[in-house]
Amino acid sequence: MLRDWRFWFFLPTLLALGIVVLFPTGYLLWMSLAHWIITEPGVYFDGLANFRTLFRSASFYDSARVTALYLFFSTVIMMVFAMLMALALQHSRSGILRSAIVLPLVIPPVVAGFTWRFLLNGEIGFLGAWLFPMVGLDVNMLSNPSGALVSVIIADVWSRTPFMFLIFLAALQGIPRDYYEAVRLDGATAVQEFFTVTLPLMRSAVAVALLFRVVDAINTFELIYVMTKGGPGRATQTLSLLGWKTAFQNYDLGGAAALGVVMLVVTTISAGIMFARFMRKA
């Protein structure tokens, strides 16, 4: 192994990530087994108590549900939207449209959250208080439980689609044109062409985008926090927000770590399944 160049090429990454990942993960595991509530003196090993508490709390299941909804819809909408834009722009020579579409990427999610929050605000927002009522839409997006979730998804789609768009665009441009010609000759419609050539040849790119999207969505914090604080009620409180609240508002570090471990396990397992399904032999 030591004589294999690939080992040396990979080693720096292995070390760098090993340090910034392995230590925190180990520490996290320890924390999750500890009774560590800041407001109570003393930190001690408490077995699986944190997990028991977690699995008994209503907000965990609530947040899991919200996370699932948020994850599913934002991801699906984002993928479709990004794919449509990439397809629409793949042959365009003008960089202007492409750059325009990529613009939200340079806006930090914190700012995106503020911006959409004030756009959608039902009392003073451009959309919420002016445009929507003008076209007869009488909903207060942010204070209505499902409306709030929709709002958060819109903002997230707005903020994160460009990233996926870029991945898709790059993948699209890597597809040799002969394939399109062959399938076109075979009489494929645009839709058939997409499903016969484009999508299969982009499969690994799509899978990568999807994986990163899922991880990203699970970690979305500031955007939602800024927009709704997880509200109204717990309507937009994702697991990430719950974890943050548990640690930094409720001072229950052990509980937050337990939640973190649960999420880590769930995402790793589902990613493992996805990985085995789509990316092996891709």
Partner: protein, 362 residues
């Protein structure tokens, strides 16, 4: 009936005009072969017929209908790409039956058809492999299979056999010829291979630098090349061409001479014909003969033994000359020999390289 007609097609890539006004017709059921030097635009013409490339000007007709603007999928054309263009994510069977799938043919029927075609192309054992697991030749055959599967109105082949080994090439060539006879579909075929061109074609279209130089049956082109380019392009090894000067002219009879050679007498079509400036003799019309019997003397440079014949390369005062000799002919580099021509089969060319009918022929 005319199946495909191109009318003054032009095409440029950027500033470079690669197709400079090509017109031609393929009859229903005809087997047309495009030949020409590399980069002369053969693939480009094929792609325009398929609709994959829009001509800058000119029209394309299928039958009596103007097809210039019909999208490729509507043209019902089967094409074998020079680059194969196999879908890497599909098995061989799926690759071959994509068109059927797109047309909604059920799976079992598709499989049946795939097996049928695969057997023909010796791919039966590879049906479930992915293209990446095939050798170059195997891939090429899958690409051919894909075009055959859909029973198209016309086939376009872009050098489909270039990666097959000789035996398989002959076989697949005969297969395609047989296929053509069976289904009597118009086929347009691009190749570099002389044998393919000569044996398969009903008609050869010879292209050079984006223009049609000559077209006709293989033997027409081989026997009556319109000019020096055609004469030397067709035939392998290529025609020996020697500069000549007319030493005497008597109406239609001319005495020609070339460097270091005795005179050759030829008959010209009419007294007005210009004097020939060069003479072309194919290797099979050239012989190494006993001393004194030939036209020219020369030195053997090399002898290529092909098994079925020997190609003898000689250096003469008039230039290099290749003679095709029977397999048991023995020749040694450095030997001085005499070269003789079958003048009755010689080709004459004027100063512009245009053919002058040699009336000594036929």
């Amino acid at each position: 009936m005319v199946a495909i007609r191109l009318q003054d097609i032009r095409k440029s890539y950027g500033p470079v005009e690669v197709i400079k006004g090509v017109s031609f017709e393929a009859e229903q059921g005809e087997f047309v072969v495009f030949v020409g030097p590399s980069g002369c635009g053969k693939s480009t013409i094929l792609r325009m017929i398929a609709g994959l490339e829009k001509p800058d000007s000119g029209e394309i007709y299928f039958g009596d209908d103007r097809y210039t603007d019909v999208p490729p999928g509507k043209r019902e054309i089967g094409m074998v790409f020079q680059s194969y263009a196999l879908y890497p994510h599909m098995s061989v069977a799926d690759n071959m039956t994509v068109s059927l799938r797109l047309a909604g043919v059920p799976k079992t029927d598709r499989r049946k058809r795939a097996v049928e075609v695969a057997r023909m192309l010796k791919l039966d054992e590879l049906l479930d492999r992915k293209p990446a697991e095939l050798s170059g030749g195997q891939r090429q055959r899958v690409a051919i299979g894909r075009a055959i599967v859909r029973d198209p109105k016309a086939f376009l082949f872009d050098e489909p056999l270039s990666n097959l080994d000789a035996a398989l090439r002959v076989e697949t060539r005969l297969e395609i010829s047989r296929l053509h006879q069976q289904i009597n579909t118009t086929m347009i075929y691009v190749t570099h291979d002389q044998t393919e061109a000569m044996t398969m074609a009903d008609r050869i279209v010879l292209l050079d630098a984006g223009q049609v130089v000559q077209q006709g049956t293989p033997l027409e082109l081989y026997r009556n090349p319109a000019n020096l380019f055609v004469a030397t392009f067709l035939g392998s090894p290529k025609m020996n061409v020697l500069d000549v000067a007319a030493v005497s002219r008597d109406g239609t009879t001319a005495q020609l001479t070339m460097a270091g050679a005795s005179h050759v007498s030829v008959t010209l079509p009419s007294p007005e014909t210009a004097d020939p400036k060069s003479i072309g003799v194919r290797p099979e019309d050239t012989r190494i003969v006993p001393e004194g019997e030939g036209v020219l003397s020369g030195t053997i440079i090399s002898a290529e033994h092909l098994g079925s014949e020997v190609l003898v390369h000689t250096e003469t005062a008039a230039g290099q000359i290749i003679a095709k000799m029977p397999p048991d002919f023995s020749a040694h580099a450095g030997d001085t020999v005499w070269v003789g021509f079958n003048v009755a089969r010689a080709h004459l060319f004027d100063a512009d390289g245009l053919t002058i009918n040699n009336h000594a022929r036929q």
